[in-house]
Symmetry: C2
Subunit: 211 residues, 2 copies
């Protein structure tokens, strides 16, 4: 008998997560499972801990078809258990007093530290729309990657999608302008019959320089 | 004796990863470990599999101090084993023929499929600078989150940082304009003596809507 390969359960999830090309139709995803996935997703880091990421989970078939129309009719939205609109909040900085108020009240942060961090946040964001938008995209994307890995660990397949019309998505959901549609994520059970080889990945030497 | 809590080794990594506030000074990170972390990082998804993320790993103390100056002198860059500049390539789409050529040659993709995907990529990116920039930030951030989780699994602590002057970083590294500095990541061994409680996280109901 050969020695079994060293198993690393964390890396197994990283390696198993692949963008699903299609989903088994008719599979429902329980809201409780999504809530559990999100309860871990929220541990993802964000600039100043402002938690810019917002999620709209659309399982309702009729609304899902409307989002599908905003995404050039892509079939995998039809077969997915849900389509999730990942948003980044350009006004996330406005919640800084709520986010830091608790730490101050608990004595884990002095008034001086609190004033320092609120001042730094205001200086970084207020009136800086381009930066607010970059931050919305950046921090929502960090959160989305953590979401997709946790979903895989729970047995759910995902596919991040950029092929959609952001304005159409905003109209369908009635979103205010400060919420930037960052990506769609379809989630469901991968239709294994249609699986294809993993896409080519560049060797490390082609995207990393050591200096 | 109480029943032991169910252990999920994947979620343990997710829960253990926290943004390091400071690092143990003088810890060297072997290049081979970083190469292994990156060999798994590259499995992260990207739009059209274009792999927009690029990394500059700066362990050289002198160059690290120069990057520190571009980041308002932040002390944790001084104590970190390395500072990593995460870049997003606005011109990633130019590599599409290399990325898809192999699949076509291997027969995993027909000429028609190949032409279709190259056409879709060109249509999405060529001449669309704002979209190119969004994509650089979005896809580099997906990659960066995967990097930080894998690093934690290997015993390395990280902190993503947005407090830096992108132009200064570009000057220090001599970067062309199509490479967008998306974030810095400091990496090393967390100085546990200075650890503080995890920042407040919003409950799921405050950032997720089910529809």
């Amino acid at each position: 008998m050969s020695t079994p390969a060293t198993v690393n359960p964390f890396l197994e999830v990283v390696q198993a997560r692949r963008s699903a090309m299609n989903f088994v139709e008719g599979v429902k995803i329980p809201q409780s499972e999504l809530e559990e996935i999100f309860s871990h997703t929220r541990l993802a880091p964000s600039a100043f801990n402002l938690q810019h990421a917002r999620y709209k989970v659309i399982a309702d078939p009729e609304l899902k078809e409307k989002v599908r129309e905003s995404a050039y009719g892509q079939y995998k939205i039809h077969t997915a258990s849900a389509v999730i609109v990942v948003l980044g909040d350009m006004h996330a900085y406005e919640q800084a007093p709520e986010i830091y108020g608790g730490l101050k009240m608990l004595g884990a942060m002095s008034q001086e530290e609190y004033d320092g961090v609120i001042g730094a946040i205001n200086q970084a964001y207020i009136g800086k729309e381009a930066f607010q938008r970059d931050e919305a995209i950046r921090n929502a994307s960090l959160s989305a990657m953590q979401f997709m890995l946790i979903a895989k660990d729970k047995g759910w397949d995902t596919c991040p999608m950029i092929g959609f019309d952001p304005e159409a998505v905003k109209n369908v959901l009635g979103l205010p302008d400060h919420l930037v549609p960052v990506m769609l994520i379809t989630i469901g059970k991968d239709n294994q019959r249609k699986i294809r080889p993993r896409g080519y990945r560049k060797p490390v030497g082609e995207f990393v320089d050591f200096m």
